[in-house]
Amino acid sequence: MGKIDKWNDRVWNFFASVDLAVALFIIISIGAAIGTVIPQSIEPEPVIKFFSKFMSISSAHKAYEIVSLFDLNNLYHSWWFTFLLFMFALNLIVCSIDRLPSLLKSFKTSPKPYPLEILEKMPIKSTIEINNDKILEKVKEVFKKKGFLIHLFETKDGVQIQARKRSKTRLAVYLTHLSILIILAGALIGIFFGFRGSMNIVEGTGLNFAISDEGKAIPLGFEVRCDKFEVEYYENSGVPKAYRSYLKIIENGQPVKENIVIEVNHPFTYKGITFYQASYGFQPTEHAEFRFTYFDKKGKEHNISAHFEEKFKIPETSVNAFVIDFSPALGVDEAGRLFNMSTDMINPAVLVVFEEKGKQTQQWILSKIPETWETPYGRLRFNELWGAQFTGLQVRQDPGVPLIYIGSILMCVGLFICLFLRPLNYFVIVSKNKITFYSPTSKGMIEKQIDEIIKETKGDKA
């Protein structure tokens, strides 16, 4: 039994030690740093490409083998990194269980006088020669005025005063440690009971599942339809101002939520599942339609929709028209030729063919340039190409998030108490002709306070 106890003690002391905590700080930091350098990708190509910058291709392949052996390309989810985080949590728990009871006990037990040898070893010491009968009362008064809790002891060296203030703030360290555990617990709950995925929905269509990061389909239990997606640009520039999706939720064939607008930084939550605007892209589909507004001679507006190469009639005329070309970002190069700058809808334009009595003319109409709307057959504004873009949504359900928020708040509170409201401890020995101040912590602030206290006691004397 004795041997087992000894081993138990050893294991316990190992996990309770600050040395382990410090070692874990360093190892986790180095591990995490490696992960920011080596590409984090399950596919081998990016990793090999990265190493081939420094070495030959064959060595790069060997390097990849080592990398994948230790999961360095999926480092933050690897068994060893998870193990380190687990050790970190265990260290925090054992450390706290090891130290907290004795701290709590020290609040309850009545203080005892400290032997002079221990006081003499304290880093802060200052002595003043003074000869006054009432000095003891005065020192006590000064401490009390500053909000200290005082204990007095008669010792052979004189009267020992122990003055304490804010001693309970020593508990804040444990609050900070607890907050880290709460955050880790929140993260675990998120991993086991939540999911992350993405969905690309083309304008005018809907999806009832998301694709997880591993490529699996996750059914949502309802359908998300994208009515429209748009990118708003700053005036006269290609810098995007906002990405916006207009969504609708359909459950059991019935629309239950309509007119939902999501943007970056403005997500939307339904039944615990949150949708974030993440990306977008150009994807022409069969149902895509060109939308125009025609202004007739009386100034009346007619809305027109037409598919690619589908003929439409210009209202109140005998003219037929159809679209034969489209450019999401029409530009003009130095030689005056038209070209497409991007697949983003920065400057959408259509090439429209007009047909009147067998005679054909064609014209580019740019949605952002009103001069191009004027045609020989009236003013025709090109509004948009609808159904040719998809919105990329990030989908998430994470029941651990409330814990993360609670943990974060507790951590901030704990740290502020820890570092801004440190406990103050003074020991004073008042003997016949001198008083000596001691303090166990070597802080400039405390030294200054001793000076202040000394000044006040002296001031009282004068």
Binding site: D19, F25, G35, V37, V264, L415, G444
Partner: protein
């Protein structure tokens, strides 16, 4: 334009540096006032430039919370320097001690000078959708205040190591004197770079010295660099004597280092990590994603947590803890600049 105003502030910081040095050598009080006045007026002009830029941003974004001009590398460097200078002026006033002014003016001068040399854009840019959030103000401002606090702890820790180490051949001593020597050389080099640059767009850092096309000048610069470092290594005990004249004790330096970290650490935790996580949660749908910026922030946090545990639980004292503070700031600088320059990630608006 706001950046021209800020350049004037940078010039004043640079001029303050030699005045601080002469003040320290002569102990002439008038020079001390002149040096402080120089930095102080630099700070005032700097604040004025910052407000001007705020207005320029506001005229584009029309939102107070989203117009804080810390949205690209140039603006962040400018704000970082402002925080350091204001922090230093507070310390100078509180402790009635002007001795750190030399180092602060070196760091401020280098940083403002660098903004001229890296070819980074100084124009006011409209916000990309990812930055359009009310968390921008809190997250970025607090992060940089914490960085500035760490910078001040770096300065005091560096002097502390030089003062508190007797063995000139120890790693700590060689490391910190070389760091000082390199900073001094860089300060001079950046000034030369700015002065000799004909076309601001094509200028590169160290182009007038180490990277000069003329092999002679380049070689001479390298020799000068090693000479400076050797000089700092050899003469640091004399420099220490100067500090002792100003009643700077190792105890005092250790204390200021601790206070700067004790101030910066909670600010960094709340502003950098917690607010950053909340913002990431709202913008990207995850509070933590091991993005390089996030990861390096965590590493920074670990280093300073190490500092606090070493000091309070393990009872480390003296230059050992200051060494952690120095490493902490180097890691902080990598988190701030290195991640954007060398690694790719989601905080790319901080890149050039």
């Amino acid at each position: 334009m706001s950046y021209q105003i800020i350049s004037i502030a940078g010039l004043l910081y640079i001029i303050a540096m030699p005045i601080y040095i002469v003040y320290m050598l002569t102990k002439n009080k008038k020079l001390g006032f002149a040096a402080t006045g120089m930095i102080f007026s630099g700070a005032l002009i700097h604040i004025y430039g910052f407000i001007q830029r705020f207005k320029e941003m506001y005229s584009i974004n029309h939102s107070f919370m989203r117009s804080i001009p810390i949205t690209n590398l140039y603006e962040s460097l400018v704000f970082f320097v402002l925080c350091i200078v204001l922090g230093y002026l507070f310390i100078e006033w509180k402790y009635k001690n002007k001795t750190f002014g030399v180092f602060v003016s070196i760091i401020a001068g280098i940083t403002i000078g660098i903004t001229d040399l890296l070819g980074i854009t100084k124009e006011v840019q409209p916000l990309v959708p990812a930055l359009k959030s009310n968390w921008l103000l809190a997250h970025v401002t607090l992060s940089f205040i914490a960085y500035a606090a760490f910078a001040i702890s770096f300065i005091t820790a560096l002097i502390h190591i030089i003062m508190g180490t007797e063995n000139k051949k120890s790693f700590k001593y060689i490391f910190s004197t070389s760091a000082l020597g390199f900073m001094f050389f860089m300060f001079v080099s950046v000034i030369l770079d700015v002065v000799t640059s004909s076309n601001p767009k094509s200028v590169k850092i160290f182009h007038s010295t180490l990277g000069n096309p003329s092999i002679g000048i380049s070689l001479f610069s390298w020799l000068a660099l090693f000479g400076t470092i050797f000089l700092f290594w050899g003469l640091s005990n004399r420099i220490i004597k100067i500090f002792e004249n100003f009643k700077i004790t190792p105890q005092f330096l250790e204390d200021v280092t601790y206070k700067a970290i004790a101030f910066g650490f909670p600010i960094f935790t709340i502003g950098g990590l917690v607010f950053g996580a909340i913002w990431a949660d709202q913008a990207w749908g995850r509070y933590w994603g091991w993005d390089p910026k996030e990861t390096w922030s965590l590493i920074t946090w670990f280093v300073y947590a190490f500092y606090l545990h070493a000091k309070f639980i393990k009872g480390w004292k003296g230059t050992k803890t200051s060494m952690i503070a120095v490493i902490g700031f180097l890691v902080t600088m990598f988190t701030y600049l290195g991640v954007n320059l060398f690694l790719s990630g989601l905080h790319s608006y901080g890149s050039m």
